[in-house]
Amino acid sequence: MKRLSSALAVLAVAALSAACSSPVKLEEKSEVPIESRNTMPGGGAGNAAGAGSAGAAQSQVATVSVDRSAVSGAARIVYFDYDSFVVKDEFRALVESNAKRMTASKSLRASIEGHTDERGGREYNLALGQKRAEAVLRAMSLLGVTEAQLEAVSFGKERPAAQGSDEAAWARNRRAELKDK
């Protein structure tokens, strides 16, 4: 329930800031609500790429499922290559939109959770996941999000997004997730 209320708070703040801000932010105004409406049932942890692009029906009601890993709409997952801590160009827009959201509202706080695939030791993977989380944190800091707003943490290989021992599962697990606090 805490997650739900914080998710609502994010939407409220986003709507508020959009309503009373400069024209530059209009772009963001249309972006935030559309993405949250398109959160698919049960697909909370998915990559919301393509959100709002398909021309959803006006009467559509999307179910928002809230659980411990619910993300509140916007794409919040950055995927990494094997043994890599580089935020790839394809996630630039994701980092920028979230940075924009957080610089617009300095009261927002988020955790960046780093994750690894299942190969290797638990503690070393915890440290590797931490490195991924910190890479995203650095990218957002460069865009003006303050250190106080972000905490980089790691789950190592302890909370995989996908089960399985193949490259497809591993690729889904090498990630950093942005989560509102």
């Binding site: 499922s65 030791g121 638990r122 503690e123 070393y124 440290a127 910190e134 790691s154």
Partner: protein
């Protein structure tokens, strides 16, 4: 449980609850089945007689059966059939026992004391020398009858091998089932399992305090890695390290006064030390790399740890107060999870081989000899028994996380199977309990 409130969740929630119920109704779910493979070069033939009146203490406390199982599982003994009715007051004809091939004979009795406790007595004979090796009387409450049996097995083991036994010690480990993580403690034979902590979030890296009274561990219950210390007997716990970022890999100093741990509070993952009461935080490493998995040498002067300062993860060592680090492992590109034998001479660690297989290795620190102890592919988390004769570690078999023990020469292995549960993160407790 975090079932999603959508249309599909009711069924899955129901089946999930059914699963939990089944587990809860299975009384043996925390216990292990032990499979032994390999045998020692020499196995001492021992005769353990049924303890007089041992059945009066209840079905779970067949003292002689527990002792026999302990001795057999060590791989160093062979049990002979004994039909004779004996106890510690008997005067067995040792020549006859010699004729039956026994090197040693154990007999004893169980009797109820006026205060409700049990008096477990035993005597051990060296059949070869024709000597009475003495015995003991142990007064215990019903819940400690198993412990009494393990202590007697320890005494037999020590008399006959010259090394201290570890049958009375305990092992902590983590199980995962139905998205529930449970930190458990069992006797070294996998029986008598008890739950120390259960959580919907992962638990990793348990570490016994040297006095055996507390466990430090990492719990993700606050949606991040926090180091906790829990008193085993009372369940009282406190968060020892909950700094910004991740807090992990606790290791006790041998005097129990401080712990080394890995913190990301300053960015990156670096080693720190902290008092057991949470005071005196001190940074130990200053590298731009990952430094983690600290473990103290038995004399407390040196810390072995994992660092990828040279590229891949390798084992290094440095003074316990910090200082110049020296690389210890050179073979292989990925060496992690160092554990030191109680005599400080052997380093156990996990090394990644070609093909992405992770295997338990030991390094003899004086000769530099390396042994590959296992033939499994996903080994993790080695931990030495307090007598240094066995290493317990996690591995995978038949699609499950299992615990294994191995002798230091790798010849005798046991697999500890727990029905329906993934078992991991084993750590062998000290002699004290």
């Amino acid at each position: 449980m975090h079932a999603r409130p959508d249309a599909t969740s009711l069924a899955s929630r129901r089946s999930c609850c059914a699963g939990l119920l089944t587990l809860a109704l299975t009384p043996a779910w925390a216990q292990f089945r032990v499979e032994i493979s390999g045998v020692g070069a020499t196995q001492l033939p021992v005769a353990v007689a049924r303890f007089r009146d041992e059945d009066k203490a209840g079905p779970n406390a067949a003292i002689s059966a527990i002792i026999r199982a302990d001795l057999e599982r060590s791989g160093q003994f062979r049990n002979l059939d004994v039909s004779a009715a004996l106890d510690e007051t008997s005067q067995p004809a040792l020549a006859d026992w010699r004729g039956r091939g026994a090197d040693a004979l154990l007999a004893g009795s169980v009797s109820r004391l006026a205060d409700g406790r049990w008096d477990v007595r035993y005597k051990l004979w060296d059949v070869v020398k024709g000597q009475d090796l003495g015995g003991q009387s142990l007064a215990v409450v019903t819940a400690d009858l198993r412990l009494a049996a393990h202590r007697i097995a320890d005494a037999v083991y020590e008399h006959l091998t010259g090394d201290k036994g570890v049958f009375a010690t305990r092992i902590a480990y983590v199980t995962r089932a139905a998205n529930r993580f449970t930190l458990r403690i069992t006797d070294a034979d996998g029986e008598g399992g008890q739950v120390a902590l259960t959580s919907v979030e992962p638990i990793i890296s348990p570490a016994w305090s040297p006095d055996g009274r507390e466990l430090a561990y990492v719990s993700f219950e606050q949606q991040k890695a926090v180091v906790w210390v829990q008193e085993v007997a009372s369940g009282q716990r406190r968060s020892l390290a909950n700094f910004r970022g991740s807090n992990s890999a606790p290791a006790w100093s041998p005097d129990g006064r401080q712990l080394a741990l890995s913190l990301s509070r300053d960015g990156g993952t670096q080693l720190f030390s902290i008092g057991r009461d949470g005071s005196g935080l001190k940074r130990l490493t200053q590298s731009g790399a990952i430094d983690t998995e600290a473990t103290f040498t038995p004399d407390g002067r040196t810390i072995y740890f994992v660092s990828d300062r040279g590229g891949g993860p390798q084992v290094y060592r440095m003074p316990a107060a910090g200082g110049n680090a020296e690389r210890v492992t050179f073979t292989g590109a990925y060496n992690i999870s160092p554990a030191l034998s109680p005599d400080g001479r052997t380093l156990a660690y996990v090394s990644r081989l070609g093909g992405g297989n992770f295997r338990l290795h030991t390094l003899d620190l004086s000769s530099g000899n390396i042994l590959v102890l296992s033939d499994t592919n996903e080994d993790e988390s080695p931990s030495f028994a307090p007598n240094g004769k066995l290493i317990i570690y996690a591995s995978r078999a038949q699609g499950r996380d299992v615990l294994m023990t191995s002798t230091l020469d790798g010849r005798i292995k046991t697999r500890l199977l727990s029905s329906g549960l993934d078992v991991r993160e084993p750590v062998w407790g000290p002699y004290n309990r």
